[in-house]
Symmetry: C2
Subunit: 452 residues, 2 copies
């Protein structure tokens, strides 16, 4: 284990996790982390709440500064350094110092590729205008906040109805903007079930978001450096600020050029030790695939929790340890105004395409004792495998407690519980928290009958 | 299955559950339910919230009237009927009509004993005074509410620091009374861990409850039908209203007289089909034991959820079905003013006395992303079996989301997950609901290291 020289490319989530873990497992190793920007370890998931003003101090989103990573974790952090090439045969990187402008070689014995993802673009002129933003980095967050405070926009167009689109609708509406959401399909939040997605639309519209469906953006009209008109197949929209939330794509150029194998999703393929096809090279985070624990197949799921977990495993193994990342089920949630929305496990479309015969069950029940003040309802859409009776996935949405109930179902999914086993779970009944029959039990009881 | 004549004794939770299930499974069966009072299916767990006024209409606590049970479920409900004797050899009951005063014989082919529990008493003169109350029935609830509105008490003494004692502290304080809680031990809530119990005390005291420890009540001084002074080893206390919350004992007199076998806890023993030692006689609810799924041993746990589950199973089997109740882990929660408290699984004392070598781990972590507004902390005290690494029990307490997290750990307990498996759970991260590392993961990660 001695004499290891570990290089990590990328300072977002997986990179710092890998570097810190490598150093912890093998303190004798030299660990260098390269990051092209000036920021590492940034909580981009909190950015909508900084933009809305709910989190008053944006700088709190930085969980580690480069200095702290250096001092507390003993990692040689090189921000402003862009890795141009990985040369596996020579075991070195070609790195460009963006401040000095010079390039140099950096030798490694083991490498962790954590190059992350980039926001998808429309591919139209005007996307670089000063009032058009993505939300994928600290630079983006700060730029949106600065633009809002300097230009005082009164209307926003958000293009793309995924998780970030939802959060930005709420954030900008909270700031008093008139918000229009343009989405390419008839319903937002593609991974959720039909009824969940319809409820998302209700929630958006009841709070005043103009939700426009089946939109194909044709052009962004720029005037003096700003986009004011957006031409689409559904007419023209005007906006003082434009947010693009079109999802992300893995940053794989560097790995591809080094002949590292991509997986079926187009992201870097790894084994459960996060090892790539190249000897001594590991990958983790948004640039790489994650194993779906339900199907056993790789999926592309760029989430911060999974990036950190995979980063830990990559770092430990790069440092000489033996750790595995068994994968994920997908566990996601978003608050949209007054409602909670969560998804755990497979969607019905995913389950069917994975070859399962899917039984879907939907219930709506009180999340607390119904006669208690402020008691709201929760809807559970659960998906079961007809042949084994096991739960494959669920959407849980509604009032308070929906998201944390999704986690309980997530454990059931991860450990292969059947509807019968879920219906026998001993769950808490207490008027301020849960009714005599928790919605989870109501759901499983009904599903059990369908599965007979 | 035809020709069954099923009698059910008791109309609280298990009785109506058994009767309804029996009729559903075997519509040809004659099902008669005997209840001494005039109320069936009463939500006694909600009573503190009706007394406090949070639930405005107490009558909503009745989930089924006798009429609805008759009409909707086709059960012959006989309220005001007291069962005096079970005669197993003749397969009949001796029943007294409390209105008419006459007794009669009622033949059965199958019987469900659901005689419930009775509140424990101090065994002192004065307990029947008009301002001294238990909280175990609709009659109790209505009497407390009536007394509060008619006599406008300004001070209360609550004797006994269990779940109901806690809820009554909050209920009466909410009504503006000065509340003193007298407890026989140094800490309330005997089944919880030391730190949890200390936090309960803090929560009570910070809201103005006078919590008096190690109290032995010596006498209740009655004046003109009311108790005004309570003499104890810790001095004398004055009160306009006295609430006794000393726990409950199973009602087993009837079963005992019929030579039905009691279990080691003193409640009626049953197998997992809820069958007692007497042929064709089932028992369910607060009069009977429940199997602890962790130890495999019987326990006494008089909870409404378990009463209903056991009632269903007893009813189904009495009607000719084959159903089992696999038992419970214990899943309980209480809100005490601004904090949530939950217990799942074994306590450390129970675990040790069951022969486990217990590793205890305590963490306190943010329940949402820490920098989000209103983010509170949750403490998880988790108990693991040193040899297997499996989780045996947990206390979860603190801010919002503590109780629902306990359910997630409850599933882990029920399905024998180790600290390592819990640390690998794929849980939701979303700023309004949960931090990057959910407290459950923080807890399991730390425990895993201790268990190595």
């Amino acid at each position: 284990m001695k004499g290891r020289t570990i290089a990590v490319i990328g300072g977002s989530s997986a990179g710092p996790a890998a570097a810190a873990k490598a150093k912890r497992v093998n303190p004798a190793a030299e660990v260098t982390l390269f990051e092209a920007s000036e920021t590492v370890s940034y909580g981009i998931c909190e950015a909508p709440y900084a933009i809305s003003g709910l989190i008053a101090d944006e700088s709190k989103l930085v969980s580690y500064t480069p200095e702290r990573l250096r001092e507390e974790k003993n990692i040689a952090v090189r921000t402003g350094h862009y890795v141009e090439k990985i040369i596996p045969s020579k075991k070195h990187l070609v790195v460009k110092d963006l401040r000095g402008g010079t390039s140099f070689e950096h030798a490694y014995t083991h490498l962790v590729v954590a190059t992350g993802s980039s926001p998808r673009t429309l591919g139209l002129p005007g996307e670089k205008s000063r009032n058009v933003f993505h939300l994928a980095s600290r630079e983006d967050t700060v730029a949106i906040m600065r633009y809002c405070s300097e230009a005082s926009p009164s209307s926003a167009v958000i293009i793309g109805g995924g998780y970030i689109g939802m959060e930005m609708c709420e954030a900008l509406l909270r700031k008093g903007l008139d918000v229009t959401l343009l989405h390419r399909h008839s319903l937002p939040m593609a991974g959720l079930e039909q009824e969940t997605r319809e409820t998302v639309v209700q929630e958006l519209e009841s709070h005043g978001v103009h939700f426009v469906t089946n939109v194909l953006v044709e052009s962004l009209y720029e005037e003096r450096g700003s986009v004011r008109h957006i031409a689409t197949n559904r007419g023209s929209f005007e906006a003082d600020i434009v947010i693009l939330s079109l999802g992300v794509a893995p940053n794989v150029r560097l790995a591809r050029a080094a002949k590292i194998r991509m997986g079926p999703t187009g992201a870097i393929g790894t084994d459960e030790r996060q090892q790539t096809s190249a000897d001594g090279i590991y990958a983790a985070g948004d640039c790489s695939e994650v194993r779906n624990m339900i199907t056993g197949k790789p999926m592309y799921l760029p989430l911060a929790t999974l990036a950190s977990r995979a980063g830990w495993v990559a770092g430990e193994n790069a440092a000489g340890g033996r750790e595995v990342f068994k994968g994920a089920i997908r566990a996601m949630a978003v608050k949209i105004f007054d409602r909670e929305f969560a998804q755990v496990g497979l969607s019905s479309a995913e389950a069917r395409s994975a070859g399962f015969s899917v039984v879907t069950d939907t219930i709506t029940a009180y999340a607390k004792v119904g006669i208690m003040p402020g008691s709201g309802k929760t809807t559970i859409i659960s998906l079961y495998d007809k042949s084994s009776g096991k739960i494959l996935g669920a959407n849980v949405f509604g009032g308070e407690g929906s998201v944390l109930r999704a986690n309980t179902l997530g454990v059931a999914i991860q450990h292969g519980l059947t509807a019968d086993a879920i219906s026998r779970l001993d769950l808490i009944y207490a008027p301020p928290f849960a009714p005599l029959w928790d919605p989870i039990l109501v759901s499983a009881n009904q599903a059990r009958k369908k599965l007979k």
